[in-house]
Structure formats: structure tokens, C-alpha cells
Subunit: 211 residues, 2 copies
């Protein structure tokens, strides 16, 4: 049985992904972003690097066939499938500070940054190391002057992206907590961890849809 | 006396910059990039964040009036003057691994990553925390598909950029070690640290050029 996990709106989760396991991230409703960050399990401070990934893939828009690297230049994840086709790798997760800057007051607001900090707490990673996240389905348009402008997330109900772990990693994943990023309303995200045996089972189910 | 420091080609330096002090970085020859990375002095793991900086300034091309933020969202540096006008904040410093990937062999090559690691060693910062650097004068052109393409650095002989420290920080600065990035030849970089009193003196000298 392949388990589909749900990340409630404006929350996050942390989990381990073993080398070769796949992570399927799904927007069940459409128009919802999921922020992903990860660390090498065995090199505790070696985390996801937008800079290495953009450099080695020669693009700011990563999709199928691209690899996400760590700060040490080690491949952490490969993108295996991508129905959305547009993800952001330029900006940090939404944070309490960001909401306070935007609103001009000190009210509390749930944020992906806080949710990622909580997600990594059991794995003992300094929260200062959470920097630019891979923001799944987030749609930042760039113009030729380098300006960035936020659009509606590039996903409809059921849109998926699949990653494969290149080594054992610790993953933090959120259902983004910023209404403005998510077409006005924060919704859930689903994810599935698939290993070699349940990948085979998934394929079998696909081939025999009556099952 | 204001001291002009020289960073020899393919090397780097580390130093402290106190709140309010200014860092002037100069390309004495033109066509030479300098990679900059920094940490808060008092929050040892809180380092420069391209993601926060791009997000809060709403552009990938930072120039006068823009602020460089840390992973915790704290302002570290402001850009006060900028004669170059184009700097990269998308990619990591050149590294031994990058040269080995490009050349396909295992030869040693000097790199900004190694030079930054050495620069931060006396300040006891884990080198895994060196991620996307602010690559002064580095000229990556973006197209609307998000692809990046390297051009000649945006500086002539004597082109300068000036930063002001927003709090006490530890800075690593290099004369970039990648010939391909620097119009075929790696050259020196100069820098000056200016405090309030020598800023006044510099202004006085400017007003009286015979001195």
C-alpha cells in the first residue's frame, strides 16, 4: 500500500529520504506552492544550494533532468517527473519577518520558515542554515532587467513533481503559508515516498487500472 | 592615510568590518570579478542570503540603494555607490569541483571556494555554510526562459563599488580564480576599508586633488 500523506494548510513536515527513494509532491487543489529544503544526512551542515544548482544546470528554472546540489556540490535530488514545469529557486521561504515587513505591524503569521525550522528540529540542524528553498510550483516571472514578479502557482488539481534522492537526505516540506503566493488561499499539499518496491507496485497499478 | 589593499590574482582575504564602516572594492585593471561572502560576527551561523536579498529587493540585480540580508533576514551590507551596475547573486563561487567537472580531469585548480574557505578559517565558520556569493562585477545575462549566460565583467580600470556594514560582520573577498569569468585572465582586486574619520579625509582629498 502506497501511503499518501497530507500536509495541512500552512504547516510543514520533516522526514528522511534514502538514496534511490522517490518523493512525489502533489497539489490536490491546484494553485498551491510547497517549499522544499534538505540536508545531507551524513554531512549535517551540507544543505541544498540554489547557487550550485543554478550554476551547474545553467538555468534558474529547474525541471525534469535537472539535479539539485548541496553547498559542497554533491547531488542531493534529481527531478524525475514534472507536470508543473515552473518552480522558484530564487527566494527564501515566507517568514514572520517578511509578513511583518509587508503588513507594517507585529502580528503573528504562520510561515514556511517557522514550519521548516520545526520540521528540522528533530534532526538537529541549525535553523540559520535554512536559506533559499526550492519552491515547488511557485511562479516568479523574471524580466530582462532582473526584476521578479509573482504569478499564480503553475499547478492545477493533481499536478505532480517527482524527485529521486541521490544520497540519504533529510527533507523539510511545507504547504506554503502565504495567501498572496497561493492565489489568495492557503491549501494542503500531498506527498508520497516511493521506494523501489512500491515504485514497481505503482507501475503495476498503472498498467492494470482496474486494480 | 587610507590604505589600499591588493588581493593578488586567484587569492582571497578575510577581515572584520564594523557597523558603519565602508568597504570599497575596485577593479584596478577592469574585467575582473570579486566574490564576496559574509557572516554576522555575533551570530556565527547567520550568513549572507541571496534568497532573502533577492526577495526583499525584488530583483536579482542588486545595485545602489539595495541591502544584502542574512539568512535570518538581518541587513548585513548596503550598497552605497556602484559604478559597475551589474553583479551576480545567482551562483556559487568557482570551486575545484567546478573546474574538474568542466575539464573532465582531476587536476588541481585554484578557486574562489577554496580561497573563501581559507579566508574564513581564522573566524571559525564551517565552510559548508559558504553558499551563493555576491559576485561583484560578474555579468550573467538572463533570458526569459531563465537560462544564464556569462558575459565580460561589467568593469573597466578603476571601476568601484562601495558597501556599508549594517552591523559587525566577517567578510571573505576574492580576486576570482576562473579565467573564463574574467575575460581570459585572472587579475588583482583592490579594496579599502573606510571608517567615519577616513571617509571624511577621503572627501577632503577629493576636494583638494593636489593633496
Amino acid at each position: 500500500m502506497i501511503k499518501t500523506n497530507t500536509i495541512a494548510p500552512q504547516t510543514g513536515v520533516g522526514f528522511c529520504l534514502r538514496e534511490g527513494e522517490r518523493l512525489r509532491v502533489i497539489s490536490p487543489t491546484g494553485a498551491q506552492v510547497a517549499d522544499l529544503f534538505c540536508f545531507s544526512e551524513n554531512r549535517p551542515y551540507d544543505a541544498l544550494s540554489s547557487g550550485r544548482s543554478i550554476d551547474y544546470n545553467e538555468t534558474v528554472y529547474l525541471t525534469v533532468g535537472h539535479t539539485l546540489y548541496s553547498n559542497q556540490g554533491v547531488p542531493l535530488l534529481q527531478i524525475i517527473e514534472d507536470q508543473g514545469g515552473r518552480h522558484d529557486f530564487l527566494v527564501t521561504p515566507c517568514s514572520l519577518q517578511m509578513f511583518q515587513m509587508l503588513s507594517g505591524n507585529q502580528d503573528y503569521h504562520r510561515s514556511c520558515h517557522e514550519n521548516l525550522c520545526k520540521a528540522f528540529t528533530p534532526f538537529d540542524r541549525p535553523t540559520e542554515l535554512i536559506t533559499t528553498t526550492f519552491n515547488i510550483f511557485m511562479n516568479y516571472r523574471l524580466d530582462l532587467q532582473g526584476r521578479i514578479q509573482l504569478g499564480r502557482p503553475r499547478c492545477e488539481a493533481g499536478t505532480e513533481i517527482v524527485f529521486e534522492a541521490c544520497e540519504d537526505i533529510v527533507v523539510g516540506l511545507t504547504a506554503c503559508a502565504d495567501p498572496a503566493t497561493n492565489d489568495g488561499q492557503c491549501k494542503a499539499i500531498e506527498y508520497v515516498i516511493e521506494n523501489a518496491s512500491n515504485q514497481a507496485r505503482a507501475l503495476q497499478m498503472k498498467l492494470r487500472p482496474d486494480h
